[in-house]
């Protein structure tokens, strides 16, 4: 792992305060992502076999991950036969060094790259820039974040937390465009005009990969902008970085994932460009770097290896009430939202020890996951791990202790639940939204039912009370 093990824990709730301080951004992000969740639901309803596809996707991933070493070897053999040069990197540093060596070998000054969360994870861009290589992100959202010196806030729409006003100001500062023109088509045009020369002049292009097909030695990249196709096809050198968990067995199985990916992400049936790269064109070179960086270790975690099934659609983020109201940057991590919560502790347990608490455990993330990752159960599992490792902050530990005590004693539970609705009605605001109740901050505590189940039962089924108590 590239990060120091002494980092202090990321405080997601505290970080979210900065985002929440501006209600315009908070309300906008919440609505925008919820609309994406609604579009995802509508797209899923159009496909009668949707649930069957989810089951297939989950089974294909579990089959592949449980035979991963064989599929990696098969991919390497096929890709090599296709003329691709395959590299292996154990960690972020090895990955970055391989990329740099390839670029330095042909004296690359400008690299055009499409969005890759793996290169974010490896912190590739600063590594290359420190060595004098200019890197142009060619995905619109990723470029916005690069110009603003921020990491991505969302794995599909990196700048989704920014308003058109934010982007208009940023582009005016960086590109000299009209700061008052907030028309989205105009802003996308500014990006196109400024990126096109880099595409034409760059001597190297880089992409990530959504899928790697063992049977054909192919990498598959899905974009809407066409920037991955331009990054890979225009310069004479194409470098593709991919995590070892992205392998699937066959082109036949690829179809299942392509049908699920865009529908889960944005509600579209497919991305505008779904591209398969099997080898270099004549006179050009193609390199694929297979990166471990903690993945093989996670594969051995009985409770948590299922997170390796993730296809990075972000449906779990769009549906998560905590993510929607706190923004992706608050997680202080490469991967954010529910999937980030269950992946990041495998990179560095102490630094991300508080993330499992940035969840209401409502299970919505698991319900929308196209590969059926048990996200909310893993979040709960990580809470237990943090408890065992004594990584939980005192207040949450106390809250859980009280909850545990109350839930294990039926009589105390009845008193407590009867008190909640009374308390919400009578207690002043400060008593509910106090500093010991981290979730009350910036959130309206839902109104409690005026009648508890037990009081309802006493009224309506007086003779049966003992049976349910």
């Amino acid at each position: 792992m590239s990060q120091p093990i002494t980092s202090s824990p990321v405080d997601q709730a505290k970080n979210a305060e900065a985002f929440l301080a501006d209600p315009v951004h908070e309300e906008r992000l919440d609505k925008l992502l919820w609309a994406m969740r609604m579009r995802r639901d509508a797209a899923a309803r159009q496909v009668p076999e949707w649930e069957e596809l989810r089951t297939l996707a989950s089974e294909i991933k579990e089959h592949t991950l449980s035979n991963l070493s064989d599929y990696l070897i098969q991919f390497e053999a096929k890709a090599t036969a296709n003329g691709v040069i395959v590299h292996w990197a154990r960690d972020a540093h090895e990955h970055n060094q391989i990329v740099y060596d390839l670029l330095a070998e042909q004296k690359t000054e400008t690299l055009v790259k499409s969005k890759s969360m793996l290169t974010e994870e490896c912190e590739l861009r600063p590594f290359l820039e420190r060595r004098g290589i200019r890197v142009t992100e060619t995905d619109l959202g990723e470029r916005i974040q690069q110009l603003d010196d921020q990491p991505p806030g969302h794995i599909v729409g990196p700048a989704i937390h920014k308003t058109t006003h934010d982007v208009a100001l940023l582009f005016s500062q960086k590109y000299g465009s009209d700061p008052k023109n907030e028309d989205v088509a105009y802003l996308a045009g500014v990006m196109r005009e400024n990126t096109r020369p880099d595409f034409l002049q760059a001597t190297a292009g880089m992409t990530g990969a959504n899928f790697v097909v063992a049977e054909t030695g192919a990498i598959v990249v899905a974009t809407n902008e066409g920037n991955a196709d331009l990054s890979a096809n225009t310069p004479p050198l194409h470098i593709c970085s991919v995590g070892i968990e992205k392998i699937i067995p066959t082109t036949e199985s690829l179809a299942v994932f392509i049908r699920l990916l865009a529908r889960s992400a944005t509600g579209d049936t497919i991305t505008q460009y779904t591209s398969t790269f099997r080898g270099p064109r004549k006179g050009a070179a193609m390199h694929v770097i297979l990166v471990d960086n903690g993945r093989s270790e996670r594969l051995g975690m009985q409770r948590f290896w299922h997170s390796l099934k993730c296809i990075r659609c972000a449906a779990c983020m769009n549906t998560c009430p905590v993510y929607r109201r706190s923004g992706g940057l608050s997680y202080g991590s490469t991967y954010m939202g529910p999937i980030g919560i269950i992946m990041m502790p495998t990179f560095e347990i102490r630094k991300y020890s508080k993330l499992p608490f940035a969840s209401t455990l409502n299970g919505s993330c698991s319900n929308v996951c196209p590969v059926k990752i048990d996200v909310h159960e893993q979040i709960y599992g990580w809470r237990e791990v943090m408890e065992e490792n004594d990584q939980i902050q005192i207040v949450k530990k106390e809250a859980m202790r009280v909850a545990d005590k109350v839930l294990s004693h039926p009589s105390l539970y009845q008193i407590a639940t009867a008190t909640v609705s009374t308390a919400l009605e009578l207690l002043p605001h400060f008593a509910i939204y106090n500093r010991l109740n981290a979730w009350g901050k910036h959130r309206d505590v839902p109104e409690g039912n005026m009648e508890t189940f037990h009081s309802w039962h006493r009224t309506h089924r007086p003779n049966k009370l003992d049976e349910v108590s």
């Binding site: 925008l32 994406m36 069957e52 089951t55 297939l56 579990e62 089959h63 991950l65 449980s66 035979n67 991963l68 070493s69 990696l72 003329g83 292996w88 990197a89 060619t138 995905d139 619109l140 959202g141 729409g157 700048a159 989704i160 920014k162 989205v184 802003l187 996308a188 196109r192 990126t195 595409f199 034409l200 002049q201 049977e215 054909t216 192919a218 809407n224 902008e225 066409g226 196709d229 331009l230 096809n233 225009t234 036949e252 179809a255 392509i258 579209d268 049936t269 497919i270 460009y273 779904t274 591209s275 398969t276 270099p280 064109r281 471990d292 093989s296 270790e297 594969l299 051995g300 009985q302």
Partner: protein
Amino acid sequence: MNTTTFSRNAILDSVRANQPATKPMPTIPHFHTSTPANLVATFCESIARMAGVVVAEDVPDLDSFLRAKFPDAKVTCSATPEYAGTIQPASLNHWSEASTIDVCILRSPMGVAETGSILLSNVELQVNTIAFLAHDLVVLLDPKQIVENIHDAYEHPHFKMRPYSVLMTGPSGSGDISGTVVHPAQGVKTLTVLLSPASSAGKRTG
């Protein structure tokens, strides 16, 4: 042993030590609808959702059609023998020179009704960048070559044989600013699909 070989063996050893017990590979159905679908109509609806344009009626004179649709085009690159164009892909010295193309025209070997996608590979493109760096793209597609869904599509031999294949669905777009989808992004500004039987190949001029 060099670094990458050392790393390769270390990664594979770690994967072998950690991978869970083997789980079976499922059988993947094709999920065809029980009644024959109207593939052409579905294709047209699907591509329209992705901002692509379909011309379903016969276009007897391709040259007049292109001149009327793109009156300002100066450089028309044709990658199909069905149309002459002002240049062909072979005349480009570097792949970046495709940025000088106003209109690119070629024939796709397959359309996908479910998504409104058309298939292109390095064989049809000859120079892969012509379909991205050109301003506007015009694709000829035989309606008989439209398959029902993505399962059918990935059976096309291109995906196992060609160095580069792309399922292209509408012009380039982005929803990265404020979630508002706009066209174009980095690729072509418009995509027009002409439903044109392949039997007429070679008869067209321009």
